[in-house]
C-alpha cells in the first residue's frame, strides 16, 4: 500500500498554500483535532506510562507508589503459569501464523487462476473472518467434543479408530486453538494476497509458458517475491492477532485441559480481575507491549521504505 502522503508534496499544506493569501493558524482544524490529541495523550500515552510505572512498584491488590525495580518481572518470570503461557503462545503463534499464511496463499492462488464462480469461492473462504472469536471458539469446541462431535459421528459410522479429541488432550489442545484460528483467519490472508496477485503483470504467464518454466516455480521464484508487501502485511496482522489471543481460548478451552492452552493475554486478564494481582498484571502487559512493538515497528518501517521507493520510481 503506497503511502498516500507521498502523492502530495509536503510544501502544499493548504494552511500555507496561499489560497487565502494569509499565513495563519487554522484554529478550527486545531479544535477538530483536540479529541484525537486528548485520546492519544491521556488514554494511549497516559495509561501506558501508568501501567509501565505500576509494573515497577510493589503493587499487589492495590496500586502502590513504592519503587521496586524489576521485582514484579522477577516474580512474573518465576511464575510457572506465565512461562507455560509464553511457551503455549509460541507454539500457537508459529502454527497459526504459518498455517493461515500457507492456507490463505494457496486459496488466493487457486481463486486467481480464472476459476468459475470466483466471487462465490471468495465469499465462502472469507465469511469466518466476520465472526466473533467467541462464536468460532464455541463451534470448534463442539466439533472436537468426543461425545457429540466429529469423532463420535465417525465412530458411530463404524470407523472405530477415528480420533478427533484435541481439546481434551493436554498435548494437542494448543493445536486445536491453532486450527480454529486458521479457520477464522485464512480468508483474511487470501484477501490480502489476492490484492497483491492482481497487481502482477498478466504477460508474465505467457512469458514463462514460452520459456517452459513450470507453474510452481513461477509462483515460488517470480510471483512470491513480488508479493512481499502483501505477505508482510498479512504476517503482521496475524502475529498481532496471535499475541492478543484471548476470546478464542476462553470460548474453546478456557485455558485447559490443565494449563495447556493458557496464553499471556488471558494470564494478564486473570491476574487483573480474578486474582487481583496488579503487579503481575501490569508487568505481563508491559512484556506484551514490548513484544508487539518489537514485531510491528520494524515491519511498519520496512513497509514505509518500500512504499517510498515505489512512489519514487513512478
Amino acid at each position: 500500500m503506497a503511502d498516500p502522503s507521498a502523492a502530495r508534496s509536503p510544501a502544499s499544506g493548504p494552511a500555507r498554500s496561499g489560497a487565502t493569501g494569509r499565513l495563519r493558524l487554522p484554529v478550527a482544524a486545531l479544535a477538530a483535532l483536540a479529541p484525537a490529541w486528548l485520546i492519544i495523550l491521556v488514554v494511549y500515552l497516559g495509561t501506558t506510562v501508568w501501567t509501565v510505572q505500576l509494573s515497577l512498584t510493589n503493587s499487589r491488590m492495590l496500586p502502590s507508589n513504592e519503587f521496586a525495580g524489576l521485582a514484579q518481572y522477577q516474580r512474573l518470570f518465576g511464575t510457572a503459569r506465565w512461562s507455560i503461557s509464553i511457551h503455549n503462545l509460541v507454539t500457537f503463534g508459529i502454527v497459526y501464523v504459518l498455517g493461515a499464511l500457507v492456507v490463505g496463499s494457496l486459496l488466493a492462488i487457486a481463486v486467481d487462476r480464472r476459476v468459475r464462480f470466483e466471487s462465490m469461492w471468495r465469499t465462502v473462504f472469507l465469511y469466518p473472518y466476520a465472526l466473533s472469536f467467541i462464536v468460532t471458539g464455541l463451534m470448534w469446541q463442539w466439533l472436537m467434543n468426543p461425545e457429540i462431535g466429529i469423532q463420535a459421528t465417525m465412530r458411530a459410522a463404524g470407523l472405530g479408530w477415528f480420533t478427533f479429541d484435541w481439546t481434551t488432550r493436554p498435548d494437542m489442545a494448543i493445536y486445536a486453538v491453532s486450527l480454529a484460528g486458521i479457520w477464522q483467519s485464512a480468508g483474511l490472508v487470501m484477501v490480502l494476497m489476492l490484492a497483491g496477485l492482481r497487481g502482477i503483470d498478466a504477460d508474465l504467464w505467457r512469458a514463462t509458458r514460452i520459456e517452459g518454466i513450470p507453474m510452481w516455480r513461477t509462483y515460488l521464484t517470480i510471483v512470491l517475491p513480488q508479493l512481499g508487501p502483501s505477505l508482510a502485511t498479512a504476517f503482521m496482522l496475524l502475529t498481532m492477532g496471535a499475541v492478543r489471543t484471548f476470546d478464542l481460548v476462553v470460548a474453546l478451552t478456557n485455558g485447559g485441559p490443565g494449563q495447556s492452552t493458557e496464553v499471556p493475554a488471558k494470564f494478564i486478564m486473570d491476574s487483573l480481575f480474578a486474582r487481583q494481582d496488579l503487579g503481575l498484571a501490569t508487568a505481563g502487559a508491559t512484556v506484551m507491549l514490548v513484544t508487539v512493538m518489537a514485531i510491528a515497528v520494524p515491519i511498519l518501517y520496512a513497509r514505509d521504505i518500500w512504499a517510498r521507493r515505489r512512489s519514487g520510481r513512478l
Partner: protein
C-alpha cells in the same frame, strides 16, 4: 476508491479441462467444505432434539425442523441463575454498537480530514502516534481506563462502554479516512478555500458527501468489530449492559447439569447473524475495509 479486485483474475490462462484444472476445482471444493462444515453443523444441530444429538450423527439433517431450541436460546436460556436467553444481550449489543459506530466513524472522518487537508502544526506527530497506538495491546490500558471511567462515573455504564469503543476505534477509523482523503485531489479543497468556505463548511458540504464509500466501509468495519468484541464488553459494560458475545459465553460455560447443545448452538448462530448478514449484504465493501485498514494491527 480503487477496487482491490479488477473484474477478472490475472492468473495464468487455463488450457481446457486438464488434469491440473480438475485438481484445482477439487482443492476448492475441499477447502469450501472445511470452511462451511462448522456452520452447517451448528445450524442443523440447533434444529435437533437432544435425543437426536446424542445419536452422534452431526452431519445428518434433523428429522424435523424443531424451533424450540431457538426460542429457548432467544428468551429463556440460563446463564447461572439468570434465565433471559441471549435476547437481552442482543439489545444491549444494539445499544452499544449503534452509537459507538456512528461516533467513532465521525471522529475518524473529522480527524482524517483535518490531518489530510489542514495539517495544523503537530499533525505528523499525531498521525504517527495514532498509527503506533493501534498496535498497543488492550491489556496495557485496562487498569488505568477502569480507574479513569470509574472516576468519571462511567464505569459499568452504557455511556462508558460506548466511549471506550470510540477511543479504541480511533486508530482504525482515522487511518481509513486519512488514506481515503489522500486520494481526493487537493485542488478540489483549494477551490473550496478560494470560494471562502471554512473548515466545517468544506467538511460537511464537500468532504462528507465525497466520502460516502468510506463512511460505509468504516461503518461496516466498526459495526462488525464492536458487535464481535468480547474483552471490552466483559470489562466495561457492567452487568446490565453485557453485550451478546459475553452473554453467549456465559450461557454456554456456566451451564450446570445437562448441556443443551441445541440451545447453545442456536444461541451461537443468533450471535453470529448480525455480522454475517452485514458481510453477505456488503460483500465487496467488507473486502475493501480489510485491504484499506490492513495497515493497522
Amino acid at each position: 476508491m480503487q477496487d482491490p479486485f479488477p473484474s477478472h483474475a490475472r492468473g495464468p490462462r487455463p488450457q481446457g479441462l486438464t488434469l491440473p484444472r480438475i485438481g484445482l476445482y477439487g482443492l476448492l471444493v475441499v477447502a469450501a467444505l472445511f470452511f462451511l462444515l462448522p456452520a452447517y453443523v451448528m445450524i442443523v444441530t440447533s434444529f435437533k432434539s437432544m435425543d437426536e444429538i446424542r445419536a452422534a450423527q452431526i452431519f445428518a439433517l434433523p428429522h424435523m425442523l424443531d424451533w424450540s431450541a431457538w426460542s429457548k436460546a432467544w428468551s429463556s436460556a440460563c446463564a447461572g441463575v439468570n434465565c433471559t436467553g441471549v435476547s437481552v444481550g442482543f439489545f444491549n449489543s444494539v445499544k452499544i454498537t449503534i452509537p459507538a459506530t456512528i461516533l467513532s466513524v465521525l471522529l475518524g472522518a473529522v480527524t482524517g480530514y483535518a490531518l489530510s487537508f489542514w495539517r495544523p502544526p503537530g499533525s505528523k506527530l499525531l498521525f504517527a502516534a495514532i498509527t503506533i497506538g493501534g498496535f498497543i495491546p488492550l491489556q496495557i490500558f485496562l487498569f488505568p481506563v477502569v480507574r479513569g471511567t470509574a472516576a468519571l462515573g462511567l464505569y459499568n455504564s452504557l455511556a462508558g462502554i460506548v466511549l471506550v469503543h470510540v477511543i479504541f476505534g480511533l486508530p482504525l477509523t482515522t487511518l481509513l479516512f486519512r488514506n481515503y482523503y489522500a486520494s481526493i485531489p487537493v485542488e478540489l479543497f483549494k477551490a473550496a478555500r478560494v470560494d471562502g468556505a471554512g473548515f466545517w463548511r468544506i467538511f460537511v458540504s464537500l468532504m462528507l458527501p465525497l466520502s460516502l464509500p468510506m463512511l460505509i466501509v468504516a461503518g461496516l468495519m466498526q459495526m462488525t468489530g464492536i458487535w464481535n468484541d468480547f474483552l471490552l464488553g466483559l470489562v466495561f459494560a457492567g452487568r446490565d449492559n453485557l453485550p451478546m458475545t459475553v452473554q453467549l459465553n456465559n450461557i454456554v460455560t456456566t451451564t450446570t447439569g445437562q448441556r443443551e447443545y441445541n440451545v447453545h448452538m442456536a444461541a451461537t448462530v443468533l450471535t453470529a447473524i448480525v455480522p454475517l448478514v452485514a458481510y453477505f449484504v456488503s460483500g465487496r465493501w467488507f473486502v475493501r475495509g480489510i485491504t484499506a485498514g490492513s495497515v493497522k494491527g
